[in-house]
């Protein structure tokens, strides 16, 4: 546990000493503030378009941070040869992998805190109310979704040689899941066999990230998600995280690192 925490700490330090997060955060703030200054029929209570824009920027930024951070962890260590002195310590590969995962995931969580705090401040400046529980649900589900993505990117980093190809594949896969993942079974229905079975298998096997996208509920002030379903979604996320991390540790276990 101590080793995992130590490795995670280094990952978090790395993220906050790089410029990625700050650039994305400042860009988000600037764009939102510019859009908030637009006069729409002299009505200063219009807020949903602003919430949608802000949440879209938060989602894009968090995906970029999660994927690029996780995708380069192991390959960068290999390329920079920092992996060798690290594995020469009494640290198992599983501990290293878990440390990298938790480091990336917690770093994503901290960035989400900053982004959602800004979002809450922006929304409440017009709405004059704070639906804290709704924001908590949205941020928590978002964070667990990023956990799945980080685990997926870590697994990809052990399979694909270059971090850039891993990042690209992750972006494409995740974009595809978010946009059409929910509808794959509809596409499968009119298909002939065996294509239908293949598409249906993919539909059931892939992680349905749309469970964690509750932006519409936040933007349009829908009531809270029932805590029971919130809990099931968390369990669903943890299952996929476990599957991806298990795959990653199996891939990493016997890989030569020199």
């Amino acid at each position: 546990m101590r080793n995992i925490v130590a490795v995670a700490g280094v990952v978090i330090k790395e993220l906050y000493r790089r410029k990625d997060f700050y650039v994305l955060f400042i860009v988000t703030i600037l764009i939102c503030l510019v859009m908030a200054s637009v006069n729409i029929f002299n009505d200063d209570k219009i807020v949903r378009y602003l919430k949608e824009l802000c949440l879209l920027l938060v989602w894009v930024s968090s995906l970029v941070i999660a994927i690029t951070t996780a995708a380069r962890q192991i390959p960068a260590e290999r390329e920079n040869r920092t992996l060798l002195p690290l594995l020469a310590k009494p640290l198992s590969r599983v501990q290293l992998l878990l440390g990298k995962f938790f480091g990336c995931w917690i770093a994503c969580g901290l960035t989400l805190l900053c982004f959602y705090a800004f979002f809450g401040a922006l929304a409440s400046s017009r709405e004059h109310h704070w639906p804290l529980l709704n924001y908590f649900q949205a941020a928590a589900l978002h964070w667990f979704m990023l956990g799945i993505i980080v685990a997926m990117a870590l697994l990809g980093s052990l399979i694909f040689a270059a971090p850039s190809s891993n990042s690209t594949i992750c972006f494409v896969v995740i974009g595809g899941i978010l946009l059409v993942g929910r509808h794959l079974d509809k596409f499968a229905l009119p298909m002939p066999e065996p294509a239908r079975s293949v598409v249906l298998s993919i539909y059931y096997a892939l992680p349905h990230l749309e469970f964690f996208d509750t932006r519409d509920l936040i933007i349009h002030d829908w009531p809270l998600i029932h805590w029971k379903y919130f809990g099931y979604a968390i369990i669903y996320a943890l299952s996929y995280i476990a599957v991806f991390l298990t795959g990653a540790s199996l891939a990493f276990r016997r890989q030569a690192v020199n």
Partner: protein, 251 residues
Amino acid sequence: MAPILKTEDLRVEYRSREMRRATKVALRGLNLEVNAGEVFGFLGPNGAGKTTTMNVLLGFVQPSGGSASLFGIDVRQPIARQRIGYLPELTYYYKFLTAEELLRFYATIFGLSRSETDLRIDRLMKLVELEHARKRPIRTYSKGMQQRVGLAQALINNPDLLILDEPTSGLDPLGRMKVREIIQRLKHEGKTVFFSSHELGEVETVCDRVAIINQGELKVVGRVDEIKKPEHANLEQAFLEIIGFQPEVVA
């Protein structure tokens, strides 16, 4: 007394991805023992299998056959590395960390307490003469400074066995002297040092025993004066004869 480093019939083969190319054999049944308290030189030409042997000992590469152990523990167990320090040939460390943060990180992995860590970091920074730069990020360090950080991290856990991969490679004469001094001091403290090197003059000076490996096979192991025959002026000549090098005769 049991050897603290031992390999038995150690074999490493790299399978080629291309069908037409044969499997490359990096190590062919290596049997090696290093006893506690000795300075052991591991010599061989480029591509002989020195680094492969070290990679197996450190768990970077899985052996294809045979076994290797450190302090009686199979090298595949992470705990086998609890009492070792390792200095790679090319020293690269996290550029965004300071030297102090890097040492603290490694100390945590070794399970050192905070007070012990503070003490050791102070001592090591003095030893490697990096006190003035301990709070600067490593990316601002020169090559020599990075190598000294490497030495510090290899010693953070006060290891009983130090594995050095060509420790004087790329160092100026002053740097080489400092490394020799550190090796001598560790020997006097009863530590074991296992290192590979091309600097046969240094090996002759500091090592208790040496092993010479060529094309994955152990050619000879023993004390320097046992390996050197009377007709050999120095260890280099003995080395060249053992690996089968025939000098060109100039007419």
